[in-house]
């Protein structure tokens, strides 16, 4: 019974449900579903960096913005079609993410947090004030991408593209964290000195973690620009950053299932609170407090205590190794 409530089953059901949503739901629900998928991508990417590799970085919303601005501006200024502009925007975010590994080699903890926060504020400043390129505070419109010859209107095309990207990116993250690379991330998080003594190159693995989370945020940004057909600075501000962080904390740090659960929970709560208008952010903050107080290690840690199938090993080959395993199986 509890197996049925396991992580894999629920994830497969979630993807199937999301795939079916456009066949019965109204455009508003489709839009929220699409946003949910982008948040899952953002939370998974951020959790790799913060939860697994232990790098307290605060630039995820900026990377998200760089992906969106890169994609949008390439289309508007140079007439690059969406299918080329989107990967370019995502790659730009990845490269800037990679560059951040350099300060991360020298800074850690709160210093890294401050440096990345400063970078995020600088990015926002550029979005706001480099008006000749970014169109300033008002933002700019981007043309809806065409999915011809597929018989899909633009919004459904983006919806299914997002679903595909989310499924692929979650699967890739799931494979990476269960490999020697994921173990290197956790080793760096739990003890940099011991990690080095075991032959782990800190710069290399910090760079991989920053690059991956930059790429994930950049892909989400590229999809976001097409989802809204509009890009403006306020989508990538401090509230957005706090939102991503809150998703991985509420779901569970160092847990991919936690990223998915956290992103889903907070997206739905935000939508539910939309009616409260001006008090939305206060109510949201209060709810966050409730989560942190009652489930300090995240929803997934609480689930793990009650249900089977929520463990997340850091290796692909499961079960007990060694010759003894065969002997044990005999009657």
């Amino acid at each position: 019974m509890s197996r049925l409530l396991g992580r894999r089953t629920l994830l497969a059901l979630g993807v199937a449900a999301l795939a079916a949503v456009p066949t019965f739901a109204n455009p508003y629900v489709v839009f929220v579903g699409n946003q949910l998928m982008l948040y899952v991508i953002l939370a998974v990417g951020l959790n790799i960096l913060v939860g697994y590799a232990g790098q307290l970085a605060f630039a995820n919303a900026a990377m998200f913005g760089i992906g969106a601005y890169g994609t949008g501006l390439l289309q508007v200024h140079f007439g690059v079609p969406y299918y080329a502009a989107a990967p370019a925007g995502a790659l730009l975010a990845m490269l800037i993410g990679l560059a951040m590994a350099w300060p991360a080699l020298r800074l850690s903890g709160l210093y890294l947090a401050l440096a990345t926060l400063a970078f995020a504020q600088f990015t926002l400043w550029v979005f706001l004030h480099w008006e000749s390129v970014t169109f300033g505070a008002g933002g700019f419109k981007v043309p809806p991408p065409s999915f011809a010859p597929l018989p899909l209107p633009s919004n459904l095309g983006i919806y299914y593209l997002s679903l595909l990207a989310m499924a692929a990116l979650v699967a890739i993250a799931w494979n990476v964290v269960r490999s020697r690379i994921g173990r290197a991330f956790v080793a760096i998080r739990d003890g940099e000195v011991a990690a080095q003594a075991l032959g782990i190159d800190l710069f290399r693995y910090k760079a991989i973690a920053f690059g991956m989370s930059g790429l994930y945020a950049g892909i989400a940004g590229a999809l976001h620009s097409a989802l809204l057909n509009y890009v403006s600075p306020e989508g990538f501000d401090l509230f957005q950053m706090v939102l991503h962080k809150a998703m991985i904390v509420v779901g569970g740090l160092g847990s991919l299932a936690g990223s998915v659960v956290g992103a889903t929970t907070l997206t739905l709560i935000l939508e539910a609170l939309r009616e409260f208008k001006s008090t939305q952010e206060i109510a949201f903050g209060a709810l966050l407090l409730v989560f942190v107080i009652f489930m300090p290690d995240g929803i997934v840690a609480a689930l793990k205590q009650r249900l089977q199938g929520w463990e997340e090993p850091l290796r692909r080959v499961r079960g007990r190794p060694g010759a003894a395993a065969g002997a044990e199986a005999r009657p």
């Binding site: 890739i172 494979n175 990476v176 490999s179 020697r180 690379i181 994921g182 173990r183 290197a184 956790v186 080793a187 998080r189 739990d190 003890g191 000195v193 011991a194 990690a195 080095q196 003594a197 075991l198 032959g199 782990i200 190159d201 800190l202 991989i208 160092g254 090993p313 850091l314 290796r315 692909r316 080959v317 007990r320 190794p321 060694g322 003894a324």
Partner: protein, 261 residues
């Protein structure tokens, strides 16, 4: 053959000369003890050898090759393992995963192989798992393979940490106070384990230790540090009778005698 050699190592922190002209040579297959009062510079010496601290004078040779100034992960790859004064197991991993992490330098899968998980990558993971299991068997900890590292007792963590450095088949392992906090029974087990590591695995050991009983029991030779300077070196029996060592340990000697008997 000389397996590990330090030549004129020196390092200062501010005004303190933590190491000054430290030289010694460890033969292949030797168990070398490093003793000395608190603050003598023993841990600093290991940090310099394994590349965590860069010396301002002197050099280190591993199997005849200079390794001074290389990054610690590169030195580890050359065959130098290390344990720490306080346990450094990765808390968020199980025992088996900790050991598999010890194989980092030997495994090869890159980001793409990991992300798309081909057959070669899976086979490599399988081999890593078997090897980790064997290393656990070697130290007699296989029962605990699936426990979170932090659930182990202090002594168990030490042993797993030793297994984690052995798994990559290093030439030399540096141990920083492996016996700290162990009961007498455990001490005898550690004594046996250290000999087996040398005899069955052919690993050269350099061990900082305050527990004189263990030093007297397993070490072939002992180097004594005080104030960052080597003040004596020789067999454990000779060193313990050395006048300068007795002076450095003044007040500790009686204690050492009692533990040794």
């Amino acid at each position: 053959m000389t397996m590990l050699e330090a030549r004129g190592l020196g390092i200062g922190f501010g005004g303190v000369r933590a190491l000054d002209d430290v030289s010694f040579a460890v033969r292949e297959g030797e168990i070398r003890g490093i003793i000395g009062p608190n603050g003598a510079g023993k841990t600093t010496l290991l940090n310099v050898i394994c590349g965590l601290v860069r010396p301002d004078a002197g050099e280190v040779l591993l199997a005849g090759e200079p390794i001074t100034g290389l990054k610690p992960n590169v030195i580890a790859g050359r065959g130098l393992g290390r344990t720490f004064q306080t346990s450094q197991l990765f808390r968020g991993m199980t025992v088996l995963e900790n050991l598999m992490t010890g194989l980092h330098g030997e495994t090869r899968a890159g980001l793409f192989a990991a992300a798309f998980g081909g057959r070669a990558m899976l086979a490599e993971e399988e081999r890593a798992r078997e090897k980790a299991w064997k290393a656990l068997e070697f130290v007699g900890m296989e029962r605990f393979w699936d426990r979170p590292a932090q659930a182990l007792s202090f002594g168990q963590q030490r042993v797993v940490e030793i297994a984690r450095t052995l798994i990559s088949e290093p030439k030399v392992v540096l141990l920083d106070e492996p016996a700290v906090g162990l009961s007498l029974n455990r001490l005898a087990e550690l004594d046996r384990l250290l000999r087996r590591i040398r005899d069955e695995r052919g690993v050269t050991l350099v061990m900082i230790e305050h527990v004189i009983r263990l030093v007297m029991g397993v070490c072939d030779r002992v180097t004594v540090l005080q104030g960052g300077v080597v003040i004596a070196e020789g067999t454990p029996d000779a060193v313990i009778e050395d006048a300068r060592v007795i002076e450095a340990y003044l007040g500790r000697r009686v204690d050492a005698r009692r533990r040794a008997s």
